[in-house]
């Protein structure tokens, strides 16, 4: 079975071709980043999705050496995300499904980040505990069986990736800050200074206070000092972020006793997070999985994989073309349609 995945929930337009659970190709068009003001311009993003999507599709099909008529089903992200970009991808998918008379599987973006783990680890055992961390998400989710999710904790304010991006910008190191902060941190001493850990003893996360603490730290010290010790400051900051993340992950693991612990989303590429989670998993003899970096950030391989797994579980009849299918920008992991 050949499944086409389409993901356009935020800044990237991505299309992927999957055959019987194996990824044949992924084509992604990443928006130009305007580091001048520290963000991706949503207007450009929305228009660019529209401009890019046909070319990205062609690229993915060519790379996989597959024609449009070979596709058996389409999976597309229908939420959560930015409404404009979501509509571009979803309506494109609806057009394809209608014209090819094939099923269309609506995919939840957060769930697809979690299921990205199955691309490289198809034998993951339930129940699992998943930490989804990215620019827009910080969610700790327990899954007793396929498609069932219980939200354990989430951020009360900023997402972990958002906090890292904003701090990177404050330190004058550019946007997005994930990779930059990670490589600075890996050269630094995390004991250089101590930044606060938010929401101790709660399943929920908080990163707004940490962001403010770094801001005051930057203001209190002169620029030369900050620049001179940038790696140590980055390491201390990242240590606080990953301590907060793992503290809640580990407490939930003690309580829920999952068979597997999963990391997912862009921040799951972070070296310090992976190191701390690995050490814990080894100590407790729990299996830990995380996707390779290419499947951590937004990509359509995870969308195709999710659609494939849903078809395998529920059959194609459940996903007959539905012209009423609409984007849901505020979709939550608990709000499953199927």
């Amino acid at each position: 079975m050949i499944v086409l995945g389409i993901e356009s929930s935020c800044d990237d337009t991505s299309v992927s071709v999957l055959k019987d659970g194996n990824i044949l190709s992924v084509a992604t068009n990443t928006q130009t980043v305007h580091s001048g003001y520290g963000g991706v311009i949503p207007e450009v993003a929305s228009r660019a999705h529209l401009k890019n999507i046909s070319a990205v599709l062609k690229n993915a099909l060519d790379k996989a050496a597959v024609g449009l008529n070979d596709i058996d089903a389409v999976g597309a992200t229908y939420g959560p995300g930015l409404v404009g970009p979501l509509l571009v991808g979803l309506n494109f998918a609806k057009g394809l499904a209608f014209s090819l008379s094939i099923p269309l599987v609506p995919v939840n973006h957060i769930e697809s980040h979690i299921l990205a783990n199955f691309i490289e680890h198809p034998d993951i055992e339930y129940p699992f505990l998943a930490l989804v961390v990215s620019g827009g998400h910080t969610e700790l989710v327990y899954s007793p069986s396929f498609g069932k999710y219980e939200l354990i904790g989430r951020t009360r304010d900023d997402a972990a990736g958002e906090c890292i991006d904003k701090v990177s910008k404050m330190l004058g190191r550019g946007f997005p800050g994930g990779k930059i902060m990670d490589s600075l941190a890996s050269e630094g001493d995390s004991g250089f200074t101590v930044f606060p850990r938010g929401m101790k003893n709660s399943p929920d996360f908080s990163f707004s206070g940490l962001k403010t603490a770094v801001k005051y730290y930057i203001e209190k010290n002169d620029k030369a000092f900050i620049d001179q010790n940038i790696s140590d400051i980055a390491a201390s900051f990242i240590d606080s972020v990953t301590d907060s993340l793992t503290e809640k992950l580990f407490s939930a693991a003690e309580l829920k006793k999952p068979a597997t612990v999963l990391l997912a989303g862009g921040v799951s590429a972070n070296t310090s997070l992976r190191k701390k989670a690995s050490a814990y998993a080894a100590k407790k003899s729990i299996r830990l999985c995380y996707p390779s970096v290419q499947y951590c950030t937004d990509n359509a391989a995870m969308t195709a994989m999710s659609a494939y797994m849903m078809i395998k579980k529920y059959g194609t009849d459940r996903f007959r073309f539905d012209p009423e299918l609409d984007a849901v920008p505020f979709l939550r992991i608990e709000d499953k349609k199927i």
């Binding site: 963000g39 949503p42 450009v44 959560p80 404009g84 904003k166 404050m170």
Partner: protein, 147 residues
């Protein structure tokens, strides 16, 4: 021409004090009101916004919409639209993201974080909230009501 503005200044001494002040401030709001926040990172926009939502009767989940630009809170007392323009580059992008389709809704209270990003094209009838950091925990709120 804009009507003469009504201006008030309030001071808070702690995070809890800010939350309580936001709850009280919420009582003065009605559907269709647009509240625009001005203030640096760490000024307390998040704390104030959460207090405001609680004061408006919403008990659910309030988080930062920096990445998805907008949140809606609808299953509480009043409907609330929560915008965060941190990632917006200039006011010309607002049309594209559907900002004007939402902001003038008469059945909701709108909260706009990072209103500085669109200074030149804010709705005429609005409430500006300027937050100044006066100490580690103390804040000054200047509230200006237009129209």
């Amino acid at each position: 021409m804009e009507k003469p503005a009504e201006k008030n200044i309030f001071k808070t001494v702690s995070e809890d004090d800010t939350k309580n002040f936001a709850r009280k401030f919420a009582c003065s709001l009605k559907d269709g009101d647009i509240i625009c926040f001005f203030g640096e990172v760490g000024a307390g926009k998040t704390v104030f916004t959460r207090g405001l939502c609680r004061g408006l009767g919403f008990k659910g989940y309030v988080n930062s919409p920096s990445y998805i630009i907008m949140n809606m809170y609808e299953n509480g007392g009043m409907n609330i639209q929560h915008f965060d323009l941190y990632r917006i580059g200039s006011s010309s992008e607002l049309t594209e993201i559907g900002f004007y389709d939402f902001i003038y809704r008469k059945d909701s209270v709108s909260i706009v974080e990072w209103a500085d990003k669109i200074k030149d094209c804010l709705p005429e009838k609005r409430i500006d909230v300027f937050i100044t950091v006066t100490g580690e925990n103390t804040r000054e709120f200047e509230i200006i009501r237009y129209g």
